[in-house]
Subunit: 219 residues, 2 copies
């Protein structure tokens, strides 16, 4: 039995972006059922939240993942673990698998950090004077990464020929830009994102994340 | 034959930190020889640099990696690929391998981004007004990550019992803080970093990176 930790409540701007979505999406792609462990992070000193940090997720974030005796706590690592269960997400050829894994690191180490920095500025620090000074540079850094990904993608449908775990992570990262119009300038990346979002497994994962928010007490 | 791209010149503050070090270190640990492809990134419009971006590294950074027909361009992915060649860097037990891989993503997706943000502020943007306003928050974010890693490490020697590729990436990330005294507040992380830096493979990798800078024309 697989258990994935998810937040019961997040601010509106984070709905549909929280990182358990990546794990849900991967599990849907390979057809593995899972249970949710709903975490309430609003009271950072509650016994339940402190126990969650101690036992499962040292940064107090989601997702954490349990599968029998195995526990994992980093979304990239969890998606990689799930991907290795199925050639639908990870090619069996070792060279192709290395390229997919490299794209997974690319999404999370080269593309996501500047996107997260820009997004934090726009959503959490918008009124602060430093954010105004930093934003042009941050947007330039984001565009530099998007230029590189778009050039590599070219007119292909997916990063490595066929859909893989790399696309789950890259699209999850590109989606964080939804509060901006930056992606509009990249028609191939927009089409790529929409192609991946059009997959039934993505739709189910997204709908399940949103349903949990709707079901959880809001105050 | 393995080839790793490295820079021939970087500013002094980056010497000993450039990301090819991670790949050199992994190769030394498993005893694989490699050749350097020295990249000059100072003239961003040179034919050689533009060809490097197009063919090997879409962001124009190092390292890129070639091994026969396989090319990879992201340090995390390259280290993961090398690690899979040897149980010295990646356990053969699948659950242990999943935990090591998760720590690799943790180092590069959770720990390195705030450290890089802080470092960019201190080294590239120190005189800019926004950096002053942003720095307290950035340092707080770094400490939040270090708290989590230190708690998980506890009094163990390595992240997953024995030395692995996870330690290569985590220590490479912690080393970026060398211009600050932040790590001094974390005695277990300092000891952990020094334990890993004490390995002969690390010393050889570092010395080889520095030797390349010393050998390359400086202007």
């Amino acid at each position: 039995m697989i258990t994935v930790s998810v937040f019961g409540w997040v601010p509106d701007f984070a709905r549909g972006l929280v990182r358990d979505l990546r794990v849900r999406w991967a599990l849907e792609e390979v057809g593995l059922a899972y249970e949710e462990q709903v975490i309430d992070a609003r009271d950072k000193q509650s016994d339940a939240y402190l126990a969650y940090r101690r036992d499962l997720q040292p940064f107090g974030q989601v997702p954490a993942y349990r599968e029998g005796d195995l526990t994992l706590f980093e979304s990239g690592g969890i998606v990689h673990h799930i991907a290795q269960k199925s050639p639908q997400l990870m090619p069996q050829d070792p060279a192709a698998a290395a390229r997919v894994t490299s794209w997974m690191f690319c999404a999370l180490n080269s593309v996501e950090p500047p996107i997260q920095e820009l997004t934090a500025m726009d959503l959490f620090h918008v009124g602060e004077s430093w954010a105004k000074g930093r934003r042009d540079l941050a947007e330039k850094q984001v565009r530099g990464r998007l230029d590189g990904v778009a050039e590599r993608l070219g007119d292909a449908d997916y990063l490595e020929g066929v859909f893989s775990a790399a696309d789950i992570l890259m699209v999850s990262v590109l989606r964080i830009l939804r509060h901006t119009d930056i992606l509009d300038g990249y028609s191939s990346l927009t089409a790529y994102k929409e192609r991946c979002e059009g997959r039934p497994a993505f739709a189910k994962a997204l709908s399940d994340q949103l349903a949990t928010f709707d079901r959880s007490p809001s105050a």
